[in-house]
């Protein structure tokens, strides 16, 4: 995008002031290079979101933003139900509660290297990944309801997880207000055999080394030590979430029309929060959040099982589990007044700053861990929420590197086999059911995650704590 189109108010802030049908400004946090690299559609989508009823503050955009569906990916928008505010299925996305969890192993790189190859093969065998893979768990109707209501707590009750994980999962592992009865039979059918599966696309399980500590005192609190090893999982609510997203997107076109909302783009389909459709979507979406939390807990359990085999004395401790595709009811201070808002984060990570009451006691002094996935080659970052982020973007930060090129372009440019070999030569072992999938996810197809997290830090959204480099990657 052309930076000249924006009102550049400080180093990292690019504003589009309110004009025409916009009910609020649009605000992008990024450096100039990132702005230049963003698709024109980010501008269009960010300003379109600002036209929705009941929007509070601004339509915010994170530094890793790219062209999404209605909302830009990397979009944050909060709505007030008492001001005619809306909930949008597109503002949450198809992969409801897609997110990241990181587990500490206490092992060092030296411990992993001798078994690295067997470890990658075992993880690949143990964790179903990609289309056509089947989980070991099949849910009947009763168990499906229990899972949708219970989330990670349900998984732990069935023996697929550890009780001590719960305080380290958003919402303590169970999203309240879930209404399994609002989840369609088709959505449930799509999920019957998918618990404990990774999915595909940009989803992965990685074994990573702590490559660099950037904030030592916070890293100490997080338990991150130089050259120690962590396990990171990126996935979501699988077929169930996709189906709920699909169905409500279609339904909300009608609901918006009924409510007299003019949609600048059909993908922005939405319903007033205080409407029957809005409430039904929220109940179903929260059930999908539980599905995602349960799914990551189960995959974490599988990873623990594999590590137990190689390192019998090791226990994997959950650092944190956080989603980046959600709509959450949160209290935020706006113009000095605390308001209860429905905060949409589409490809944006919640990033509560130090002192936030929802954070578990051991983390409260330093802020919430913000887990950022990069690409297979460039690595990932762990950030911590900042107090300033509340006023900047309702306590939100970036969620990943963001793609620099489309899947088609990556496919034309890279060979999956060669990407895999090149990474292996650099000590990164990748396994996937599809070499084409590896080509589409080639490290060069992503933006520089370092630039994205630096921009997040300089914008006051979240501060960098540690950089991780991959050792093992299981791709769906």
């Amino acid at each position: 995008m052309d930076p000249a189109r924006f009102n550049h108010t400080d180093e990292m802030t690019w504003r589009v002031e309110r004009e025409g049908e916009m009910r609020a400004p649009a605000v992008i946090y990024a450096d100039e290079d990132l702005i230049r690299g963003m698709d024109e559609q980010v501008y269009v989508q960010a300003t379109n979101v600002a036209k929705l009823p009941g929007i509070v503050g601004a339509s915010y955009v994170m530094p890793d933003a790219h062209w999404g569906y209605g909302f830009p990916i990397g979009g944050v928008a909060a709505f007030d139900p008492d001001a005619g505010g809306v909930v949008s299925a597109g503002g949450v996305g198809f992969d409801i509660s897609c997110g990241v969890r990181t587990m500490l192993t206490g092992l060092t790189v030296k411990d992993i290297l001798p078994v690295q190859r067997s470890l990658v093969d075992s993880l690949f065998r143990q964790i179903p990944a990609g289309l056509g893979s089947e989980g070991a768990i099949t849910l009947d109707a009763t168990e499906m309801e229990a899972m949708l209501a219970g989330g990670a707590r349900w998984a732990i009750g069935r023996g697929w997880g550890e009780e001590r994980d719960l305080p380290r999962i958003e919402e303590n592992g169970t999203m309240s207000g879930a209404k399994p009865e609002f989840v369609s039979d088709r959505a449930k059918k799509r999920q019957r055999c998918e618990m404990g599966t990774l999915g595909s696309g940009n989803h992965y399980l990685e074994v990573q080394a702590v490559a660099e500590i950037l904030d030592r005192s916070t890293a100490d609190v997080f338990g991150l030590k130089q050259d120690e090893v962590v396990v990171t999982i990126h996935c979501g609510s699988r077929g169930l979430g996709h189906q709920i997203g699909t169905e409500f997107l279609a339904e909300m076109i009608g609901a918006a029309q009924q409510a007299g909302i003019v949609l600048p783009d059909r993908e922005l389909a939405c319903a007033p929060i205080n409407s029957e459709t809005g409430q039904r979507y929220l109940g179903a979406m929260r059930a999908a959040i539980n599905c995602a939390l349960a799914n990551r807990e189960i995959i974490g359990h599988y990873a623990r099982r594999v590590f137990k085999h190689f390192f019998p004395d090791t226990r994997l401790d959950l650092l944190f589990d956080v989603s980046h595709n959600t709509c959450k009811v949160e209290k935020h201070k706006v113009d000095g007044k605390v308001r209860e808002l429905f905060v949409h984060r589409k490809g944006a990570t919640r990033a509560f700053g130090p002192g936030h009451p929802s954070l578990p006691e051991p983390l409260r002094a330093v802020g919430q861990p913000v887990l950022i996935g990069g690409s297979m080659g460039t690595g990932s970052y762990i950030l911590a929420g900042e107090t300033t982020s509340e006023q900047k973007a309702f306590s939100s930060a970036c969620h990943g590197a963001g793609r620099a090129m489309s899947r088609n372009a990556a496919l034309k440019r890279y060979s999956g086999r060669k990407v895999q070999d090149d990474l292996a030569a650099r000590g990164i072992f990748v396994r996937s059911p599809s070499t084409r999938g590896i080509a589409e996810e080639a490290p060069e197809a992503y933006k520089d995650v370092g630039a994205v997290v630096t921009a997040s830090e300089r914008a006051g959204l979240a501060r960098r704590v540690a950089r991780m480099r991959p050792l093992v990657c299981i791709k769906g």
């Binding site: 209605g70 198809f94 992969d95 289309l131 076109i253």
Partner: protein, 138 residues
């Protein structure tokens, strides 16, 4: 008729577009493009599955049609390699032929999550051909 489809780029995902002498044919070709998002390998038309869908207009109908295929792919763990569409107004009666996913042979690259309204267009183009396409979230 073979090969009358294309993929077009989207930042994070992939667009599918089918072409044909009729809208129904363009719908069928868009379905081929959807399968090609997942695999480059041939898919045997071993089993037939019936689907039907309705929508408020023909563009929304394309999204419903592709979502119906995605649903059958996901719940039957199948891929489809032959399609037949009967289009009446805004109703599709469709038949899909395919086989169970063979991970070795099909090496599925990614799993479609849903068809979207992004870059959604179904229209008779100036050359007289119909086109039908949208972005698929993968």
């Amino acid at each position: 008729m073979n090969g009358a489809w294309e993929h077009f780029p989207h930042d994070a995902d992939v667009g599918v577009r089918g072409f044909g002498a009729t809208a129904a044919e363009a719908f069928e070709q868009a379905a081929f493009a959807l399968t090609a998002v997942v695999t480059d390998s041939p898919v045997k038309p071993a089993v037939a599955v019936e689907v039907s869908c309705d929508a408020a207009d023909i563009e929304l109908l394309l999204v419903e049609w592709l979502n119906a295929i995605i649903f059958e792919m996901a719940t039957r763990t199948m891929l489809f390699g032959r399609f037949e569409v009967q289009l009446e107004g805004t109703h599709v009666q469709g038949r899909l032929w395919g086989e169970r996913v063979d991970i070795k042979r099909h090496a599925p690259a990614c799993e479609p999550k849903g068809a979207t309204y992004t870059a959604l267009r179904v229209a008779k183009e100036s050359d007289g051909r119909w086109s039908a396409g949208c972005v698929i979230d993968v």
